[in-house]
Symmetry: C2
Subunit: 429 residues, 2 copies
């Protein structure tokens, strides 16, 4: 039998419920694997094995509280934890210990889950990389900003991890590390206790190895009904292939992967259409950058004014750029987003989901950059669910993701359709 | 000449700019007045006179940075400050010192303003009262949750204070204490560093003694253009009198005050119409309570699970009520709010503003309750600007407020119209 750290969350949850697995064994297996792999991967900002094992033993003694009972979760280090340091990826907060747990952490604990440790974030969940390497090839970036969460989950150090996305910070690292990333509909998970960057965009989500795992943790925390995946095979989904205005930025391997995938999806029973977004959608990457920068300048006002020397030059420059966006320009970004969301709702009446690239290609070589967020910006701004599936492989043998997006509030249908697509493209799994 | 603590913010700002007043003198006058009045009023959760005076002297030496330069501000104690304790109105956070300033505080400092101290909040900005008394009659509640901010500003202890509103927590205490309260359009002021209760509703705003003061601080912090009030007299506003579905809850004095005010406004040049909201609007108080309670349960998950014995019974009961609201019911509250906002936009095409009561009547006697938030709930949920004006007096000699509301994003026009209404009803001021 495979070691429990290789179980999906859904498998581990069922095994714990059946009495075939204890939380202590599961956490122990995760910690053993971490001990072996962490020197190379560097996914964790903080780990306290004794504390995690003690929590696991407590769960094993306690009555089962939910499907999350006994499951360990990695928590991105921009999310407050009272029992572990929270440094937001910045030396300004070295050793900082928040006074309370973020809502998602407290709810996780209440539901019987436990925090395995804090995962590495880029600086304030923006671009400047942390120490993490891509577990598929450690010479490559894991992507960002949820770098540690993506690497830890992809490497089977932990089945579940929280991530946050303002631009493409769940989708891109999940795609680069070859795992599932799920950015739910905006406002599906409570954000109290998140370090805010851009409150109009910051979205709490998860990194997992399977689509049902992503559904499991978000549904439990959101108080939503469980989505069934049993009958997914019977779906005949309507899929819109959306090249997006940035198709020219996708590399040859990514473009070729989609050209091969479309007939495969069609053969598996999907109705495929081609979706062209209108000209205003081509402005959305710039709109997302203006909106977020305006908010960065304000949300990080304390750090910007008190500790400018402890911000990286690239973040300082980006924040100052936000200071040059006028109020009128900022309000216009909301107007544009509002209009485009309404028109996109119309498009989604013809399709269950749209599919598009998760990133321009494989994870770039080197650890200096976390890669290009371009393919995430529009969907974050549109506030609907986005899921990346690790269904393609590029010329360097690294994963390439397929991004599935749906209309706001359609999380269950989007997850089911995503799982249908995954099975259609990776039937052996 | 009146002591500087009695200056409006606009007057003080002009006097400082002209070299006729220093920040040190202004802050000194505020502190002297507080020393005399605070034993009776109890508006402050934390005060550090030496620190405030040192900050004021620093501002007097520094180049002028904005209209806020040298002005002292009271900061409601649910807003994080790195240089003062922040206790969120709860013993759970006794002595808590946040690692950073909230965005509004850091921006205030950057613009040359200074924090005079922390003002009393009810427990987590909900219902359970703090120690503050109404400066108009200390046997009466100041209202809540921005109790200390309203009392301190109304009593001329400080010209400006931050408040927050989830239900009616700026409008009600301002009305009860007889001062101006301004809840801007949702998302006008950055919320990073606010203790979240209900992220779909929590709105940062201000308490001031004049409408131009309210405009001044919010515009500076929001990066919005200054609103001119010079030509307000020339307006011919279109005013919709909206009894709201709760008119029956308003007491006789409040109803009579409106019946007298309408002809006065008409005589002053306004076009007055009567606005009847449709039946769905009558559900909005319940909708607001369902939406906020669902979010309380999650946002306060840490406090609820770790320190249940340190929550008051009334808050614990309200939070647990939120745990019984289902996800589907919660999502329905957003659908209803969305529909009503769209229909209200239509109503606002016929009127510059709507006017309605700020509260059912004068501040109730006693300090056990902060009064009824009913007349605030709908407008908070609608996300547009709301301003309360202290233009009426009740049978006990206590103030009664008139609430002016406008469509989302119309803050400048709503403030100008509010100032027109104030002048029309209180021409001597």
């Amino acid at each position: 039998m495979k070691a429990p750290n290789f179980f999906s969350a859904t498998e581990a949850s069922a095994a714990i419920a059946a009495g075939d697995l204890t939380s202590e064994r599961l956490v122990g297996a995760c910690l053993e694997w971490i001990a072996a792999r962490e020197p190379e991967i560097q996914a964790w900002a903080h780990l306290n094995p004794a504390h995690a094992l003690a929590e696991a033993r407590q769960r094993d003694r306690a009555p089962r509280r939910s499907r999350l009972h006994g499951l360990p979760v990695g928590v991105k280090d921009v999310i407050d934890t009272a029992d572990m340091p929270t440094e937001y990826g910045s030396p300004i907060y070295k050793g900082h210990r928040p006074a309370s747990d973020a809502a998602c952490v407290a709810l996780l604990h209440e539901l019987g889950g436990l925090t395995l440790g804090k995962t590495v974030s880029t600086e304030f969940a923006t671009r400047h990389p942390g120490k993490t390497r891509n577990p598929r090839d450690t010479a490559h970036t894991p992507g960002g900003s949820s770098s540690g969460s993506a690497a830890a989950v992809a490497d089977s150090m932990v089945p579940l991890a929280f991530g946050t996305q303002t631009s493409s910070s769940i989708i891109r690292p999940a795609a680069f590390c070859g795992t599932v990333g799920y950015k739910p509909t905006f406002n599906r998970l409570n954000r109290a206790g998140l370090k805010f960057l851009s409150e109009s965009l910051d979205t709490l989500g998860v990194l997992t190895r399977t689509v049902p795992d992503a559904a499991l943790i978000v549904e439990e925390l959101a108080g939503a009904a469980p989505t069934s995946f049993d009958d997914v095979g019977a779906l005949k989904p309507r899929i819109g292939f959306c090249r997006t205005p940035y198709w020219g930025e996708a590399d040859a391997a990514t473009r070729a992967a989609f050209e091969t995938a479309l007939p495969a999806l069609s053969k598996a029973g999907a109705r495929i259409g081609h979706v062209e977004l209108d000209a205003e959608f081509a402005t959305l990457a710039d709109v997302q950058i203006r909106m977020s920068s305006f908010e960065f300048y304000r949300a990080l006002a304390y750090e910007r004014t008190r500790f400018p020397q402890l911000l990286t030059e690239s973040l300082a420059a980006r924040i100052l750029g936000g200071g040059r966006v006028t109020r009128a320009q900022y309000e216009e970004t909301h107007d544009i987003a509002h209009r485009c969301r309404a028109r996109l709702d119309g498009t989604y009446r013809e399709y269950d989901v749209l599919i598009s690239p998760s990133a321009p290609g494989e994870a770039p070589r080197g650890l200096e950059s976390t890669g290009d967020p371009l393919f995430g910006l529009t969907w974050t701004l549109m506030h609907g669910p986005a899921i990346t599936l690790p269904v393609f492989t590029g010329p360097r043998g690294l994963p390439i993701g397929l991004q599935v997006t749906g209309p706001r509030g359609s999380d269950a249908r989007t997850l089911r359709t995503a799982e249908w697509i995954r099975r259609a493209l990776n039937p052996v799994d």
